[in-house]
Amino acid sequence: MVREEEAFRVELGAFSGPLDVLLDLARRQKVDLAGISVVALAEQYLAWLESLRGRRLALAAEYLVMAAWLVWLRSQLLLPAPERAPEADREAEGLRERLAALEAVRRAARWLEERPQLHRERLPRGAGERLPVRHEGPVVADLPSLVGAWFRLAVRAERGRVVRLPPRRLWSPETALEHIYRRLTGREWHELAAFLPPFSCGLERRAALASGLVACLELARRGEVELRQPRPFGPLFVRRLA
């Protein structure tokens, strides 16, 4: 594949690939393509290539592969018939056919080019109007989307209310530690909840409980208190060690 086609054309003029060059040279022989002399064509191609190299133009590999093949083909065709490689005549004929096919495609392309093209000779409606759409299909909705809509609204409403509340009161573990340590007296078990500040908001209470637990764990680590929880997720009890 000649990927460099576009870049290459700048250097080689209007040719898209070696076959294109050969077709152009063949047409300069001014005979029909079936009667074209492949030997002459090969020589013209090689001469053309030489002239490019003289101008130090970079050549794509494709052009050199074609050159190598033509050198071989020419040498074969110049031999007397009995000594030629049997495929040489076939190859020469194949080349003529390919050139004829390319020429036909080129003429077809020119024919297309000359058609009255859209946006060139035939203009479409410039200000197309968007026609209205009338929906007659059934309307569908499912329960999850209805419930989802409600939950989104409810949560948004809740958030809206939080903005109006005073900032959350949080009980830091340091405060909790000091508070519990000062109030924890005697040798009896006390429920941790008894030490919590009188927060009414659920979230603030839960946060304070967490801070209280952290404080108690720290006190236990220091050997100041011991902790007890009779059942999982049940109330926590704390008492001072002797």
């Binding site: 203009l123 479409p124 409606r125 410039g126 200000a127 109007e129 026609l131 209205p132 759409v133 009338r134 929906h135 007659e136 299909g137 059934p138 309307v139 569908v140 909705a141 499912d142 329960l143 989307s145 209805l146 419930v147 809509a149 409600w150 939950f151 989104r152 609204l153 409810a154 949560v155 948004r156 409403a157 997720f233």
Partner: protein, 193 residues
């Protein structure tokens, strides 16, 4: 008018017709003259062209922006493309319906208070047309606004046997935030919803 003048006018009419057809915008007479040339009685050409299209499916219209072809207004309704594909309730309609379902009976103002925006006329009309909501009397406050509620068809539409089947946000909040203690009971509630 000589025969030649006649042919010229006819040719100018074709050109103006094509020009106005292909132009993305309306064209004023100056812009048309720039294409057609000044040797033509443009006003007469436009008049002839407008007359030719009178009563057709397309009309030549003149506005302040200029001349343009437009489909005849009486065809607008018939030209609508019919779309028979199922379509989902819009988000606005779903939200409005959800507020009515959960808070019924409610007034439009109460719906607006929850959603932040009032339901549009089109949304209310659609829900009414679908038979999902119905008026439930009036609220005895100044202005006596209509109270809205859901219909039996609403239950049908969403496959509910009663309004109690609608899951409440609180059930989920308990399950989500109250920790594992609440989980046992919360799960059972959820399954029934």
């Amino acid at each position: 008018m000589t025969e030649r003048e006649d042919a010229e006018t006819a040719e100018a009419e074709r050109l103006v017709e094509a020009l106005l057809f292909a132009s993305p915008e309306p064209l004023d007479e100056k812009a048309i003259a720039a294409v057609v040339g000044t040797g033509v009685a443009l006003a007469a050409v436009l008049e002839r062209l407008a007359a030719r299209y009178a009563g057709r499916g397309v009309r030549l219209e003149r506005s302040r922006a200029g001349w343009a072809f437009r489909t005849a207004p009486d065809l607008a309704a018939k030209l609508a493309r019919v779309d028979r594909r199922p379509r989902r309730l819009s988000r606005a309609a779903l939200e409005t319906l959800a507020v009515i379902a959960y808070k019924q009976p409610v007034t439009r103002a109460e719906i607006e208070a929850v959603r932040g925006v009032a339901p549009t006329r089109a949304v209310m009309d659609q829900l009414l047309e679908l038979g999902l909501i119905a008026p439930r009397g009036r609220k005895e406050v100044p202005g006596r606004p209509v109270l809205w509620g859901t219909t039996p068809r609403f239950l049908d539409f969403f496959g509910l046997s009663s309004l109690d089947d609608l899951p409440r946000l609180e059930e989920f909040e308990e399950g989500l935030f109250a920790g594992t203690a609440a989980r046992g009971g919360g799960d059972g509630d959820g399954a029934g919803a």
